[in-house]
Structures are given as structure tokens and as C-alpha cells.
């Protein structure tokens, strides 16, 4: 009888705690953000969280030259980095209102799901399972890539078949690991994967000679080759074993925020189509072409639909340039990587880049 009296006494306490649980469910996503801004319903309106924080938090790799890399001056550069700066420019008219977070292949999705980062711009391949069961929402592809294999020049390995029973270095947590398994299974080639979590360790192990080959996205191989002790001693095999569309992503369940990221990427492509660059964007503002006027926000209210200003695209172009400028700055012939544009050319020039209408 005394016990039941005590249960009655505790009951109000339980009820209070139970009420708290409802609250903690809603704010859980913001508790991990550094600013701790108490915006409610964070996942359904991340843009508000970012606005009150005054800064975009962008997940990058930080370890792939040309995509995202910290230079000797301590500054981030690369195509993935420029996408983040472009988004910040659209939101705040300030490309530097970004905090970059280095994420490894394993951390990236959790960081996005838990709200640690607002957007993931980290040479990530768009796949069906990531789109559906991993809780990601992809923005358009910013770089069309394919997986390849790099070997030492003096190794007599000329094709995949020559890698029979050889050791191949792979980074874990990537689609690369599965593509390699698929390819080798298809061709019944036995091989020995030597798998690492850290991209630096993966390449260091290859450089030490433990592996006969190393596999990664072609662009990443070109980029990392430039960091090897003797880049010229390594060749990338011609065989491309997969298609790797690299795209930024946001957490699922916030289509509004997803739309913002999506249309910032499209604005880069659209600007190149229209011939608008960071240099001439101010002159284009006085253009009579209705398509350009809508795009730059001097006419209509396209930006409002995204919760941005109408001139969001103009801000992006002014600060980071159009797609061609971004590409040339990070991967083009003037850089160490010197990657041909190939399929990353505009559709009108035989490539795959195409923007839906700004209308």
C-alpha cells in the first residue's frame, strides 16, 4: 500500500519528463550544431537555422586537390568548396560566410543526418540507395566522373586483367570498393583488396609499394597523383569501370532547403549557357533579354520562391563565377590537374551539363 502511494508521488515527475521528451525530439537536430541556435523543427526548415546562425556549415573532404583541399596558405579551394561558397553567396551575398568541416568517407552521411553540416559537398557519388535508404537528398551533379585504376609505370600492368592475384589499395566507405568487387567478379579476376579508412594512408601504402594498383575516381587519382613522391612514375589505366556522378547532398525531409542548393548549382550552369561571367554580370543586369532578366532577378520573383532574394543567381555569379570559371580555376588546363572538360561540358558543346529553365 505504501508503494502505490509512492508511485502516485512520482507520477507528476514522470509526466514532466515525458513532456520534455517531446521537446527534445524536436530540438535534437539543432543540439549538435555549434551555435546551438534553438530553431525548432530544424530538419523541416534548415534555411532558418542557417539564417539565425549567419553562416553556412559545409561538409567537405579537404583532402582531394581540385575538389576540396587546404592549401599552404590555409585556405580551402576546389570545385566542391566553390559550390559551398556559391550557396553562401546566394544566402548572405558573402562567399566567405561558410564554415568548412572536413569529413571522411565514413563520417559524411551521419554528419548530414544529424545536422552537423547543412550541406555535403564532398565528391560524393549519387546512388539509388543513398537517395532512398541513407536519408540523403541529392542536388544536381557538379562533376561527372568514372572510376579508374592507377599502377606503377614499370609494373607491366596494362589492363585490369593484368591485376590477377595482385594487391589493390582501396579506400573504404566508398562506392569504389563495391564497383571494384563488381568488375572483378564480372571478369572472374581474383585480387587482394587492401582497404583503408583514411585517404592519406591509402595513397601512402600504395606509394610504399604494398599494392600493385590503387583505385579511386579518375579525377581523384589525377589529383592525388600530383601529391605522390614521383607522379610521373604512375599511370592511370584507360579502363573506366563505373560511372560516378558526384553531387552535393542535403538531409532528406527538407525539400525547401534542398531546392536552394539545387538551384544554386543550376545557376552556375545556366550562367555559362547565357555567357554570363563574374566579370560581366553587372553589365548583363541591363540586358533586355527576358530570360537573362529573370535569371538575374531584375524581372520577376523567382528567388522568392526559394526564400532567397530575387538576385540570388547574380550574387552567385558575382562571387564565384559561372561553371566554366569554377572548373577552370580548380581543374582546368591552368591547374596542375589539367583535366579535360569531357562530359563535364555544356550540353550544347557535347557534354552532359544542362539546366532546367529559370522560369
Amino acid at each position: 500500500m505504501w508503494k502505490s502511494a509512492w508511485i502516485l508521488a512520482i507520477a507528476p515527475l514522470i509526466l514532466t519528463l515525458a513532456a520534455c521528451s517531446g521537446e527534445s525530439g524536436q530540438t535534437a537536430n539543432t543540439t549538435t550544431t555549434p551555435s546551438g541556435s534553438p530553431a525548432t523543427q530544424a530538419t523541416s526548415n534548415r534555411w532558418n537555422t542557417i539564417k539565425s546562425r549567419g553562416q553556412l556549415i559545409c561538409g567537405v573532404s579537404g583532402e582531394v586537390p581540385g575538389f576540396s583541399f587546404v592549401g599552404t596558405d590555409g585556405k580551402y579551394s576546389g570545385i566542391d568548396v566553390d559550390i559551398c561558397r556559391g550557396i553562401a553567396a546566394a544566402l548572405f551575398d558573402n562567399p566567405d560566410a561558410v564554415e568548412f568541416r572536413n569529413l571522411n568517407a565514413k563520417e559524411r552521411f551521419t554528419a548530414l543526418q544529424t545536422g552537423e553540416v547543412d550541406v555535403l559537398s564532398r565528391n560524393t557519388t549519387w546512388t539509388l540507395s543513398r537517395d532512398t535508404s541513407v536519408g540523403l537528398e541529392f542536388a544536381p551533379v557538379v562533376f561527372y566522373d568514372g572510376q579508374a585504376i592507377m599502377v606503377r609505370k614499370n609494373s607491366n600492368i596494362k589492363s585490369l586483367a593484368d591485376l590477377k592475384d595482385k594487391a589493390i589499395c582501396v579506400q573504404t566507405g566508398t562506392t569504389t570498393e563495391q564497383n571494384l568487387a563488381d568488375q572483378m567478379r564480372k571478369r572472374s579476376i581474383t585480387y587482394k583488396p587492401v582497404v583503408f579508412e583514411d585517404v592519406n594512408v591509402t595513397f601512402a601504402t600504395y606509394a610504399e609499394g604494398r599494392c600493385d594498383g590503387i583505385t579511386a575516381d579518375r579525377s581523384a587519382l589525377v589529383a592525388r597523383r600530383s601529391l605522390l613522391p614521383k607522379p610521373e612514375d604512375n599511370v592511370i589505366l584507360d579502363e573506366v569501370i563505373s560511372s560516378e556522378p558526384l553531387a552535393p547532398a542535403v538531409a532528406k525531409g527538407d525539400t525547401k532547403w534542398g531546392d536552394v542548393v539545387k538551384w544554386v548549382v543550376y545557376s552556375l550552369v545556366k550562367a555559362e549557357e547565357l555567357g554570363i561571367t563574374s566579370q560581366n554580370v553587372t553589365q548583363f543586369a541591363s540586358s533586355n533579354d527576358p530570360d537573362i532578366k529573370r535569371f538575374l532577378g531584375t524581372e520577376g520573383n523567382l528567388g522568392e520562391g526559394l526564400g532567397l532574394t530575387n538576385d540570388f543567381a547574380a550574387r552567385v555569379i558575382k562571387h564565384v563565377g559561372n561553371y566554366a570559371e569554377v572548373y577552370d580555376r580548380n581543374l582546368g588546363p591552368k591547374t596542375k590537374l589539367n583535366l579535360a572538360r569531357g562530359q563535364n561540358q555544356l550540353w550544347s558543346k557535347g557534354g552532359l551539363l544542362y539546366s532546367p529553365p529559370f522560369r
Binding site: 509512492w6 521528451s21 537536430n29 551521419t110 563495391q178 571494384l180 583514411d198
Partner: protein
């Protein structure tokens, strides 16, 4: 006579029971809060909780497969491969680290200046640097700097060392396995050496003197009189070191040895099932740790002084 029983809130036992009752209740509420929070967040992301993914095809290869495994097998099978790889390292590690630790612990107290100081230097270096650093050292500075496979170093005709690891006529060990095993053995061995030294020093001097006065040689004094008594002090902290070794084997991920932690990370990464995979991992390590503890407790019971 018993009518003047004190009121129930004056009863010590009542408060004891109530406190436990409340504690269990609060813990249960906490679990419920965390769980509902988790499921709410997962729901928002459109992720369902469940272990069905374990039956899916893993579609990745594993470098070392003690049991038959191919990329078309399930995640469950892949995790088994990882678990067996972990057990290989843990069992071999516990065996060899005991030898290294006891040897270094006893030689720390040797009368021979050189032996004593070599042991001292070993213990201090390995005890005072991080294990991760040591693993990377063994892997990169030792194994990967061995010559290529076609130019291997041969020791006594039957052990050969190369970038492909250690090869015996009937067995071969990958450089990843070898580096991890040696790293764990020497790191844990240094701690065990200190435990052994402390244990030996805890045996009263009188025991040495008594044994010697009976005419035992120094080696026999140690083996028959001192060490068995030291074991009483040594075994409980030794258990902790065995647990540490087993759990530390998860650092394998840094040097590419596919242990359970490694395979689980890959699984988590491909399926996005963070919570489920972490629960599985926790359960696995808990089981391993409890097994070691139980076995060591049984051993401990045999060396304790039977008291009346």
C-alpha cells in the same frame, strides 16, 4: 510487544528498496526518451530501424578471409569474417603478450645491469607512446620498408620477411596482421611487465630468504616460491590488460586489417544503419570482454589462498 514498530519511513530497508525502485524507473524513462527521440529523428529522415539489411548482399571484398567469403555473400557472413579476424589477433595477442610481459617484468628485476636496463627502456618507450602511433610505425616503418616479395629476407632458412608480411613454410601472415599483432603484443606487454614487477615486489622479502636458505637456486626461488604468490596480485590487473588488448584490436582500421570493427564500419557506411551496426558492435565487444573476464576470474580463484 511488537506494537511499537517504527513508522515505515523510519525503516532503513524501506528507503533502500524505494531508492532502487526510483533509480530503475528513472533509467527506464531515460531509455524511453532517448529511444523516442531516435525513432522520431530516423522517421524524419525516412530511415526505418531494423536488422533486415544483414541479409542483403555485402558486395565488397575482404582481404583476409579465414572462412570462405565472396562479395556475393551477406553482410552477416562479412561480419563473421571480421569477427574471426578479430579473434585471431586477440587470441594470438593475449598468448604472446603474456610471454613478453612476464619476461620483461622479471628481467626488470634482474641482477644483470644490461638486461635490467634493456627491459626498462622497452617498458618506458612502449608504455608512454600512443598505440595508434606504434601501429603506424610497425606498418609503415617496419613491414612496408621490407624488400619486395621477390627479394625477401630469410631468417634461419624458414622465416622470411618481405612487403608481403611474414612467411613460414606452412603459414603466412599479411603485413597488416603482423603489424597489428606485434603492435598489440609489445604495447600491452609493457603494461603487463609493470604489473608483473609490482606483483613480484609485493611478495615479502622473507619468502626469498626462506627459499634461498633451503638451498633453492635463484631460478627455482622465482618459479616455485615467489611467482606463484605474485600471481595473486598479478591476475586481476592482468585481466584488464587482456580486455584492453582485445578492445584495442579495433585500431586495426588504421592499418587496413579487416577486423570486426572494420567490416562493421564498411557495413554501416554502405547501408547507413549507424544505430543497428553500433548496437551489434557493442554487443560483440561486450561478449568478448565478459568471456575473458569470466575465464580470468576462474583462473584467479585457483591461485587465491584458500581461507577458512
Amino acid at each position: 510487544m511488537t506494537n511499537d514498530k517504527p513508522p515505515i519511513w523510519r525503516d532503513y530497508r524501506f528507503w533502500q528498496i524505494t531508492a532502487q525502485f526510483v533509480a530503475v524507473f528513472l533509467a527506464a524513462i531515460l531509455v524511453i526518451i532517448l529511444w523516442s527521440n531516435l525513432s522520431r529523428n530516423l522517421q524524419q529522415l525516412g530511415i526505418k530501424f531494423g536488422f533486415d539489411f544483414l541479409k542483403q548482399q555485402a558486395s565488397f571484398d575482404i582481404g583476409e578471409t579465414p572462412i570462405a567469403y565472396k562479395a556475393t555473400d551477406t553482410y552477416t557472413r562479412a561480419l563473421w569474417v571480421g569477427l574471426i579476424n578479430s579473434l585471431r589477433v586477440a587470441i594470438a595477442g593475449i598468448f604472446f603478450t603474456t610471454i613478453v610481459g612476464i619476461t620483461a617484468g622479471i628481467t626488470r628485476l634482474s641482477d644483470n645491469w644490461l638486461v635490467r636496463n634493456i627491459s626498462l627502456i622497452y617498458v618506458e618507450i612502449f608504455r608512454n607512446t600512443p598505440l595508434l602511433l606504434q601501429l603506424l610505425f610497425w606498418y609503415f616503418a617496419v613491414f612496408l620498408s621490407f624488400p619486395k616479395a621477390d627479394n625477401k629476407i630469410s631468417l634461419w632458412g624458414f622465416i622470411s620477411l618481405s612487403q608481403n608480411g611474414i612467411e613460414l613454410p606452412w603459414l603466412s601472415f599479411s603485413p597488416e596482421f603482423s603489424a597489428l599483432l606485434l603492435g598489440l603484443i609489445f604495447y600491452t606487454g609493457a603494461f603487463i611487465a609493470e604489473i608483473v614487477r609490482g606483483g613480484i615486489q609485493s611478495v615479502p622479502k622473507g619468502q626469498w630468504e626462506a627459499a634461498r636458505s633451503l638451498g633453492f637456486k635463484p631460478g627455482l626461488v622465482m618459479r616455485l616460491v615467489v611467482f606463484p604468490q605474485a600471481l595473486r596480485v598479478i591476475i586481476p590487473p592482468l585481466t584488464s590488460q587482456y580486455l584492453n588488448l582485445t578492445k584495442n584490436s579495433s585500431l586495426a582500421i588504421a592499418i587496413g586489417y579487416p577486423d570486426i570493427y572494420f567490416v562493421a564500419s564498411t557495413t554501416f557506411n554502405q547501408t547507413g544503419r549507424a544505430v543497428e551496426v553500433m548496437l551489434l558492435l557493442m554487443l560483440t565487444y561486450l561478449t568478448l570482454s565478459l568471456t575473458i573476464s569470466i575465464m580470468m576470474n576462474l583462473l584467479n580463484r585457483t591461485v587465491q589462498i584458500p581461507e577458512r
